[in-house]
Amino acid sequence: MSASHPLELDSLYGDYPLDHAFDEMREAGGEVRQHYRALAETLARLPEEELQRRKQSADLSFLTQGITFTVYGRDEGTERIFPYDLLPRLVTAVEWDRIERGLTQRITALNLFLRDIYSDAKILNDRVMPSELVYSCKHYRRQMRGLQVPRNVYVAVVGSDLLRLNTGEFVVLEDNLRVPSGVSYMLTNRRVMKRTFPQLFSSYGVRPIEHYPQLLLATLRSLAPEGRPEPNIVLLTPGVFNSAYFEHTYLARQMGIDLVEGRDLVTHDNVVYMRTTDGLKRVDVIYRRVDDDFSDPLIFRADSSLGCSGLFNAYRAGNVTVTNAFGTGLADDKAVYAYVPAMIRYYLNEDAILPNVETYLLGEEKQRQHVLANLDKLVVKAVGESGGYGMLIGPHSTAKQREEFARQIEANPRNYIAQPTLDFSRAPCLIGNRLEPRHVDLRPYILFGDKVNIVPGGLTRVALEKGSLVVNSSQGGGSKDTWILE
């Protein structure tokens, strides 16, 4: 069993370059890392047809389960299966321990930051970061000033994106503090993988993640308004046309709560109700999967019909908990991101366990000049965007695209940041019937109610296109199951 089969494994490799990027499975010399050996041996032992058979059976399972996402801007075939890779990504217990501590520290600080900004703004008075940066952020919500948020929790549900650099070290690329998605893919990937590689899975001793919905429910319950011992908890979705609709239904079902749309809700005397077949029923906690802008036409965008009129006032009155709170997008602004290590020092008096990626703030003259002179080497991102939109990847860009971005940066420098083009790590994927390395990131999911809870795992997103650095599902990315080893 334990004898290696180097020959068979070698024949499995397709185009498999080992260069300066960290390879999750293989060391620089090409030998398989210790914790990947059992996986490599299993692959080498499996006949090619058997691997393809398992792949097909997993495909079919995703299709009939209707695990799809919606691509915007197309009329037909708007539903697509979320592409995934059959091979798990392995993370050792030691690596995970660091990630877990680092994220706990980071989310604690970010939450303190939001609380501070929406109350006394001490961090600005102490000149740790510039006020203008905060107040010019388009996700800053003045309406939240002085509002008492239940248990002082602004961000109950977070998904932070990590990358592994060529040193083998994990860094945080960005935090998603608004409505992070993808957790349903983490859970369904796991179910499919357990069926695809049952023996391998059990021989590895993988830490379980299946209790995530239960933890999420407990988190939401812990945030219920005072005096509501049996809170009615609902998940608010923008509806069936949202790209993450599958996830909304999945989570609602797994938690056993109602999935509501804005049109199901009404407010009366600052209390939120939902329309049921038995009349109106009071709502206590809303797990919101609708962006701030669309949540309440009376306060935010007046042209939106996705939310519920009067929701914000009911929230302000303390009659309903809405989570994540409004205005949390401030803290995942990509320019504010640059200050997270400083926040950790300021609020917790600790050094950041997980470092940031070096970030240039284009609002500052010197940094901007440096970036403009080096656009072909850097990645430029719009600060308030997500999903891989509004991004320039210098080395893969044309001169025309760079000119366009330079113009936009000059016009609105606050709206952009730049980062070095990272050669983040690659993991082996099954491409055709050969193994080839593709770039991967890692998005663990963090819950924050009574305390911080992180299920051991996350969504490993894969840039399935060869050489691509973009892992977003809207841009041709896929995912793989992530096994955190005991």
């Binding site: 009939t64 389960q65 209707g66 509806g239 999935l259 009366h268 329309r275 049921t276 077949t277 009349g279």
Partner: protein, 320 residues
């Protein structure tokens, strides 16, 4: 239960029932057309279209192949089988959290199956097999609905949709067929007449059940009696109405804050019509009007369901 969810479950169920009805009627009609001695293909087609409630875009054009292809595959025609299956799936997709994974997978499989290239090939090679597989898919869905879902409010709305659609469709079918059935034309050969009557029963999957009650001695008045007044056979209108009443009672027991007085009255009227009437009375009276009243009452019940459970006014709900 959320009103919107109840609405979706109700329509999911109605669409599937409609798809099944259309599939079965098309299957029976194609079968009857094999015997060329009876009514012409055109007559049969028009009768089929009338039984489906005279949807547009299905006028006889002489090309049976293309017309039946439309009735199966035309995603834009409201009577087409694919249109109904799409509708059912779209409604199910909006309440994914309410139905079981098994239900969703069954329905999803049916959807992918009817939209696959193989379905088109099968249509040309053996339409019967294709239609049979659609009905199989729907039956499987109903099976898992009954075995994997809590028999609570959502399930009752599914029942409500199914039986209301069925009662309405069966009443329409009988209304269209009753002139021929009760006053057959002289020239028609007894053998053809028999085929017609069996065809009518098959449209409601009730030939075998009929034989168990009346033996294979097929007679028009008995067919009407069976399809209208039998209270043990799920495709008989009386059974459907009993089930509608039962579903509403159950929904009322689960919630129960606002008694649906007028809805109960409308169902009660229909129930009384079918429970305290004999077939002789119906046949001696105005049969078409009787059938027509059933349809009207069904429509009224549908409106009441909306008024009580889905589109009620907020002000009245706050008051109660």
């Amino acid at each position: 239960m959320l009103s919107r969810v109840a609405d979706s479950l109700y329509w999911m169920s109605r669409y599937l029932e409609r798809a099944e009805n259309t599939t079965r009627q098309l299957d029976v009609t194609m079968g009857l057309m094999l015997d060329t001695g009876g009514a012409s293909a055109e007559t049969r087609w028009e009768r089929l279209v009338a039984s489906l409630g005279k949807p547009e875009g299905l006028e006889w054009n002489g090309d049976l192949e293309s017309m039946s292809r439309n009735l199966v595959f035309d995603n834009l025609n409201h009577a087409a089988i694919t249109f109904c299956i799409n509708g059912a799936r779209e409604n199910a997709r909006q309440v994914r959290e309410e139905i079981s994974t098994e239900q969703w997978q069954r329905l999803n499989r049916l959807f992918h199956q009817i939209h696959s290239p193989q379905a088109l090939t099968q249509f040309s090679s053996s339409i019967n097999d294709l239609l049979a597989s659609v009905i199989d898919g729907i039956h499987l869905f109903k099976g898992v609905s009954d075995t994997t879902m809590i028999h609570g409010e959502g399930w009752q709305f599914i029942r409500l949709g199914r039986y209301l659609e069925r009662a309405y469709a069966t009443a329409t079918l009988l209304e269209v067929h009753q002139p021929e059935l009760l006053h057959p034309q002289e020239r028609e050969h007894a053998g053809y007449q028999y085929l017609e009557m069996v065809g009518l029963l098959r449209c409601c999957t009730s030939f075998e059940a009929y034989c168990q009650v009346y033996t294979a001695d097929v007679a028009p008045d008995r067919i009407l009696e069976f399809l209208l007044l039998n209270h043990d056979f799920p495709h008989a209108i009386r059974y459907c109405v009993d089930s509608i009443r039962d579903a509403i009672d159950s929904i009322q027991r689960i919630g129960g804050r606002r008694p649906p007085v007028e809805l109960a009255a409308a169902i009660g009227r229909l129930h009384a019509m079918l429970n305290f009437t004999t077939i002789e009375e119906i046949l001696h009276g105005d049969t078409p009007a009787f059938l027509h009243t059933i349809r009207e009452q069904c429509l009224r019940i549908h409106e009441m369901i909306y008024r009580y459970y889905v589109h009620y006014s907020i002000q009245s709900a706050l008051a109660s």
